[in-house]
Symmetry: C2
């Protein structure tokens, strides 16, 4: 039974990877670099995007967002205030809504994306530290946001997520004076599962180091780099 | 295709409910009341248990914990310092580990649980606001913990989770002075998806209102109630 189950799971992931490759080819053909942005619920992905995307146009990078949610369009509504193209993708009914985006969901959104007007597409995944790490969607880079309010142990408890990404944003550092949180311990745990991975200590709320994140994003399409 | 998928999902959930009912009968036969404790990663479930379970024995309630994690035993190790029985349940390999507990996983742990020595079993679920709400495991009550650092919008974005539970713990209220967080707005959003649900504003870190939570737990098995 267990063997059968694993086989089914492998088939699902193989099929997903095939569709993800097709997505990536379509994005590349359109000249759009794609980022898959992941985190636990409430880690601050949306506010981080609100702050980081705001300056990207001045740097010559035309950014858009594909907003993944179980339901509703709360984050898309917030981001649309930035005057960047935002497309909502809901994981929908059945199963109470899927807990992650997969390549096929993103594929279904392709016709709604204004790819010709974009250099960079940020796909904001469903808030979840488990399944989003399993499903490639056609992205060039994966970024995960963790918050200092979540505890230092998260890389060890959700290693696949922290291992899957090219950049780890450690958000809400403005709260550090009010927490029993050891940044060194988090970084040591992070190095245990993804040695030397790029990381940034950021506060989306105060703006601290948001410029560095903006520069990281701006450099991705091989275009202008915003000063950090 | 979509219809077929929904049918498969319904079958999975039907099978889960059947096993959950069998679990619940076994727990009832053993005289054990069971709580399913859910939250996003890092909302503070484990620290809350550390604080709340500590006084339960004095109130005549013998508590134990079934600790669900994708991998590792970090929380179980913390809780075992309380000298309550703690059993680790890992959602294991394949799929990078399941993102939730289901009834069958809990059933597989039954032989390892010292049910004869317990009045109350707290099942700490995998940190996730989506799938754990879909899968009953044989519990009498469901509690979800949200943190004030996660934002007021979470009930609207993850309504099934907030609707599925009998008690909502709003944790980390000691951080309120340092956040742009509107407790009234959270409560209004909560009432929109689960009108009038029991709720408690708690700080596991400072101990604020942990006594009220302990009393809520202690009252569940119909035994002694700890003063709040």
């Amino acid at each position: 039974m267990h063997r059968t189950k694993v086989r089914v799971v492998e088939d699902v992931l193989d099929a997903n990877d095939t569709i993800a490759r097709a997505n990536r080819e379509d994005f590349a053909r359109a000249g759009v670099t794609v980022v898959n942005l992941m985190s636990a619920p409430g880690a601050g992905k949306t506010m981080l995007l609100e702050r980081a995307l705001d300056g990207l146009a001045d740097a010559g990078v035309r950014a858009g967002v594909l907003e993944g949610d179980v339901q509703g369009s709360f984050d898309a509504d917030r981001l649309s205030l930035l005057h960047v193209p935002v497309t909502q993708l809901n994981t929908g009914a059945g199963f109470g809504g899927e807990c992650h985006l997969d390549a096929n969901m993103v594929r279904s959104a392709l016709p709604s994306l204004p790819l010709a007007e974009l250099d960079l597409l940020v796909i904001e995944n469903v808030g979840n530290l488990v399944c989003p790490a399993e499903f490639r969607v056609g992205e060039d880079a994966r970024i995960m946001v963790c918050s200092v309010t979540e505890g230092e142990d998260k890389p060890l408890k959700y290693p696949l997520m922290f291992r899957a990404c090219e950049l780890v944003i450690i958000n809400k550092v403005d709260l550090l004076p009010h927490l029993d949180f050891d940044v060194e311990r988090l970084q040591a745990n992070l190095d245990q599962v993804n040695p030397g991975v790029d990381r940034m200590l950021v506060s989306a709320r105060t703006g601290e180091s948001v410029g560095a994140f903006r520069a990281w994003l701006a450099a991705l399409p091989g275009r202008a780099t915003v000063a950090a």
